[in-house]
Symmetry: C2
Subunit: 263 residues, 2 copies
C-alpha cells in the first residue's frame, strides 16, 4: 500500500492523437502493462498527479473514472485512488454484460447456455488438474448441500462455493472470470429458483456426480455431469418463470415478451 515514486509519471505530449483524457487513460494503462502500477498501489493525489501530467484535474478525473468503471482503479474519498487489489480470484465486472443483454435482448436461454459451456470447460479442466485440497473442499461443499436440504439459502451458499472451487481447480483464471461474470448475472434468478425447489436432494446428487468425476480425473464425465446439472437447473428455472408468481423486478412494460428477461 505504499505510495509511488512520482517520477514515473510523465507529462502528456501536447501533440497527441485523440482527446486529452484518452491520452491520460492510455498513459495509465501503459503503466499498468509495463508494471509501473501494481495491484494495491496508491496513485498520487489528483491535484498533484494532474500537475505531473500537465492536465487539469477534471480531465485527470475523467481518465481515472474510465479506468475505475472497468474495475482497474478504485477511488475512496478521503483516502486516495488505488490500483485494485486482488484478494480473491480476479473478477470482471458483469454490468457491461448485463447492459449488453438488455440492449440487444439477449434471451435467458442464451445466458444459461453460455454458463453451461463455461462451466463444462472448467469442469473438464478441473478433472485434469484439481489438487487434493481442492477436491477436499468440493467434497465438503457437497456434504454441506446434503446437510442443508431444508435450508435453501444455506444450500445456495454451498452451491456457489462448489462451483467456485471447481473453477479455481481448473487453473484458468480467465475462464474463471468469464464464468463468474455470467454466473453473477444469473445469481438473482437462482435465488428464487432454489428457494422453492422441491428437489434440493437431486441437485446435491448431481453435484456429487460432478465431484466424483473430477476425483476420478475423468474430464469427459465431469463435463457431462456438469452439463446435466445445469440443464436441470435451467429447466427448474423455466418452470418457475412460467408460473405467474411474477416477482421479476421489472415492471414496466413493454414488452417483453418473448423470452425476455430482466437482468
Amino acid at each position: 500500500m505504499t505510495d509511488l515514486n512520482p517520477d514515473i509519471f510523465k507529462h502528456i505530449d501536447p501533440e497527441r492523437r485523440g482527446t486529452t483524457s484518452e491520452e491520460v487513460i492510455a498513459q495509465l494503462r501503459e503503466m499498468i502493462h509495463r508494471g509501473d502500477l501494481r495491484p494495491g498501489d496508491r496513485l498520487p493525489p489528483e491535484r498533484d498527479l494532474a500537475k505531473m501530467l500537465g492536465v487539469s484535474r477534471p480531465t485527470l478525473r475523467a481518465g481515472i473514472r474510465s479506468l475505475a468503471a472497468v474495475g482497474v482503479l478504485q477511488s475512496r474519498q478521503g483516502a486516495g485512488t488505488f490500483v485494485v487489489k486482488a484478494d480473491g480470484p480476479p473478477s470482471l465486472d458483469s454490468s457491461p454484460l448485463r447492459l449488453m443483454a438488455s440492449l440487444h435482448g439477449f434471451t435467458s436461454a442464451e445466458m444459461f447456455e453460455a454458463r453451461q459451456a463455461l462451466e463444462m470447460a472448467v469442469a473438464g479442466l478441473a478433472a485434469e488438474r484439481a489438487t487434493g485440497d481442492q477436491m477436499a473442499t468440493m467434497a465438503e461443499e457437497v456434504a454441506g448441500m446434503f446437510a442443508s436440504l431444508d435450508d435453501p439459502e444455506q444450500f445456495l451458499v454451498h452451491d456457489v462455493r462448489f462451483h467456485q472451487t471447481v473453477a479455481a481447480a481448473s487453473g484458468n483464471r480467465i475462464l474463471t472470470s468469464l464464468m463468474n461474470m455470467v454466473a453473477t448475472i444469473l445469481f438473482d434468478t437462482r435465488i428464487k429458483t432454489v428457494k422453492r425447489a422441491t428437489d434440493l436432494r437431486e441437485s446435491a446428487e448431481m453435484h456429487r456426480h460432478v465431484y466424483r468425476a473430477i476425483r476420478e480425473h475423468d474430464p469427459e464425465a465431469a463435463r457431462l455431469a456438469m452439463s446435466a446439472h445445469l440443464s436441470k437447473a435451467q429447466m427448474a428455472w423455466e418452470a418457475e418463470a412460467d408460473a405467474p408468481e411474477g416477482l421479476l423486478p421489472e415492471g414496466n412494460g413493454s414488452n417483453g415478451n418473448g423470452a425476455g428477461f430482466s437482468l
Copy 2:
C-alpha cells in the same frame, strides 16, 4: 436517430444511497434495462440533461463517462451522446481483460486455453444450428484461405472471418462476445505467427475439417477439429515466441468497430 422524450428523465432523489454520480449511473442503467433507452438513441445535451436530473454537469459527465468506458454510451464532440448502436454482433470491450491480465500476470497459455474452450463450445453449437447461408460463408472463407496460401495477411483475414461465421452460427451472442473478447487480445500475436507460418496449407486443411464437421451436423467432431486447430496454432505461436514472455501489446482500445476484430 431520433431524440428522446425528455419527460422520461427524472430528478435524482436527494436522499440517495451512494454518491451523486453513482446515482446518475444507476438511473441511466435502469432506463436501459427498462427499455427507455434503446440502441441508437441520442441523449439530451449534457447541459439540459444535468438540469433534468438536478445535478451539475461535471457530475453528469462522470456518469456518462463511466457508461462510455464499458461500451454502452458513446459521445461525439459536436454531435451528442448516443446509446451504442449494434451494427454487428455485440462486442464487449477487451481492454478490461487486457488490464486484468497485466495486473495478475495471466499467462499466454491461459489465454490460449480460454480461447480454445470458447471456440470449441461455439463450434459444437454451430454444428447443431448452422444455416445453409452460414455454412456457405464458411466454405467461401476456407476457399479464400486456400487461395491465399502465399499471402499471409489475406489468409488471416479469411481466418478471422471464418471463426466469426462459426461464432455467429452458434446462435449464442454471449459466447460470441466472450470469444471475440479473448480472440481480440490474441490477434496481434496471431499476425506475427501467421506471417511467418510455413504451413498455411495445414491450417487451411484444419479449418476445412471444422467446416465439414459443422456441415455434417456433428458437434463432437466440430469440437475436436476446432480443438486440434487451435492447439496447432498455439504450438506455432510458442515456437515463434520462445524468447519473449511478455504478451499483450497495447492496442487502440475502445470498441468502435462493430466487427470485434480490428483490421
